[in-house]
């Protein structure tokens, strides 16, 4: 028996790259040479192997994925993206509590896409990151899970309530208690605001803090000890926004709306 499909798609970087390239559409050999920076001589044996396994098809001197090839590449992408993510920020993902995520969102963590890992300069540890405030102030529809308290939050979210078309806030029990005690007037304001809805999450575990809007998302995972270590993740990718909204919705479905204090 000849080599397996696994060997065929993974054991040559040239082949893997060609499969991924063809996922974007058919290409002729000249386009392949330019995109992958290879020579015909180096590429032809690999093309032959992929053709033998029915992964790609040649038609009028252009190459395209076969039906099964397309299905396979569609399943390669989530794995490659996951590995890429781990490769780039291994210690971050090892040290943060991602196990708290509901199963489908855990598996889909790679949807964060081309995210940025933000680590504040030590002199700025106790301030809200600029990337966070600036992007939120420019957002129209905002959903936030507030699972730890910053002194600036009551004022900041009140400001958002005035600017945004809609603002949905989900507070953890401890954040809600703290706001009730220390910032009752802001809490009253948020409750009376037309555009704002407030929810209280009293379920198990402490969800990651997340803000997701119509054009960006910002998430802070707690570390393994359940502490916040001031390292945050920001992404502008479509897939990340969708992932963030699903995460918000998951916890929102398990919360109760706050209508008065």
């Amino acid at each position: 028996m000849n080599s397996s499909l696994t060997d065929n798609i993974w054991l040559s970087e040239k082949r893997t790259n060609l499969l991924l390239l063809l996922m974007e559409g058919p290409r002729d050999i000249e386009q392949i040479k330019v995109s992958l920076n290879v020579t015909s001589r180096g590429m032809m044996p690999q093309i032959k192997k992929l053709k033998e396994k029915c992964l790609i098809v040649e038609e009028d001197e252009t190459y395209r994925l076969s039906n099964t090839g397309r299905l396979i590449v569609r399943n390669m992408l989530p794995l490659i993206n996951t590995l890429r993510m781990i490769n780039e920020n291994r210690s971050y993902w090892e040290q943060h509590d991602i196990n708290i995520l509901p199963p489908h969102l855990f598996k889909g963590l790679h949807n964060l896409g081309n995210y940025l890992l933000l680590e504040p300069d030590l002199n700025y540890t106790f301030e809200i990151p600029k990337e966070f405030t600036e992007n939120l102030l420019r957002s129209k529809e905002i959903m936030s899970i507030i699972s730890f308290f910053r002194p600036e939050y009551p004022k900041f979210y009140s400001q958002l309530a005035e600017k945004a078309d809609s603002l949905t806030l989900l507070l953890s029990r401890s954040v809600f208690k703290r706001m009730e005690k220390n910032c009752a007037s802001e809490l009253e304001f948020l409750l009376s605001s037309e555009s704002t809805r407030l929810y209280l999450y009293e379920g198990e575990g402490r969800p990651p803090a997340i803000d997701v809007s119509d054009w960006f998302m910002y998430v802070s995972f707690f570390n393994e000890q359940g502490r916040y270590d001031h390292r945050d993740i920001m992404s502008f990718d479509e897939t990340a926004l969708k992932w963030g909204k699903e995460l918000f919705q998951y916890y929102c479905d398990r919360s109760t709306e706050i209508t008065e204090i």
Binding site: S4, L5, T6, D7, I9, W10, L11, E13, T16, N17, K53, C54, S66, N67, T68, L71, I72, R74, N75, M76, P78, L79, I80, T82, L83, R84, I86, N87, R90, W93, E94, I98, N99, F106, K107, L109, H110
Partner: protein, 259 residues
């Protein structure tokens, strides 16, 4: 391309299988040896490599388990690994199938079919229901079938199952229903009035593949890309395959109406 990590997973079939195995449960070295049919001395170097990249770890009971990033990787690897195993059985067969009416989510998980058998009858047995199909249907207690290909013996088989008290759900395409009504009026009458059988009908344009999923097995007669039946069937007995088949049946059920 994170080639180094890719090689860590796929360069050794033992490592790939170990990762997939640990996705179910942590396991000590003895369990690993017996499940993967390997010797400790051959698997230990592989375990070491996987520990070095932080995908697995040893817990306080001395058993190996996936770390959280390990689990993240393996959950994203499993649909691909199992798909490749299914396609490896018959690459050309799969490439020539018409899978267009199967929803994407189920296609991505087609690896759930697991250990499939490809059934190709010899020329003298092309026109009868296959023994593998008949025998396993007759030991099933619950049957869900999509009949989008007319076979003269089907009605007889289902009537027998029905009499034996098997719970049956059937989706017929309009044209198969028409043919059954005109060819076997009496049998259809008995069948339609039965209490154990639920019959649904779907539009021809939905083009569901002919298949049956029971509490025992799944049997599929997928059409080829020309939309023809070419006497190539597949069969699987794995629990994941039955679950997959039920979801597929549910999908077509949503597109059908009770008769």
């Amino acid at each position: 391309m994170p080639m180094e990590l890719i090689e860590t997973i796929f360069l050794s079939e033992k490592r790939e299988n170990l990762l997939l195995m640990l996705l179910n449960n942590p396991a000590d070295i003895k369990t690993i040896d017996s499940t993967l049919e390997v010797t400790s001395s051959s698997i230990l170097p592989q375990i070491k490599k996987l520990r070095e990249v932080g995908f697995i770890d040893k817990n306080e009971n001395g058993a190996y388990e996936l770390t959280s990033i390990g689990r993240l990787v393996v959950e994203n690897m499993k649909p691909l690994s199992s798909m490749l195993k299914v396609f490896d059985v018959a690459c050309e067969y799969w490439d020539e199938r018409d899978l267009t009416t199967i929803p994407d989510e189920l296609l991505d998980n087609i690896g759930s079919l697991g250990n499939i058998q490809l059934i190709v009858p010899d020329l003298d047995h092309m026109y009868e229901l296959q023994d593998d199909f008949l025998n396993n249907m007759q030991i099933s207690n619950k049957v869900s079938s999509v009949l989008s290909l007319y076979h003269p013996d089907n009605l007889d088989l289902f009537n027998k199952l029905d009499t034996a008290g098997v719970n049956i759900e059937i989706i017929l395409t309009e044209s198969v229903l028409e043919r059954m009504l005109s060819d076997s009026e009496k049998e259809m009458e008995a069948f339609l009035s039965s209490k154990n059988t639920i019959i649904l009908v779907c539009d021809n344009t939905i083009k569901p593949p002919p298949f049956s999923v029971t509490d025992t097995f799944i049997y599929m007669s997928l059409f080829n890309i020309q939309g023809r039946y070419d006497h190539h069937d597949i069969m699987s007995f794995e629990a994941s395959a039955l679950e997959w088949g039920e979801m597929l049946f549910e999908h077509y059920k949503g597109l059908a109406t009770p008769y």
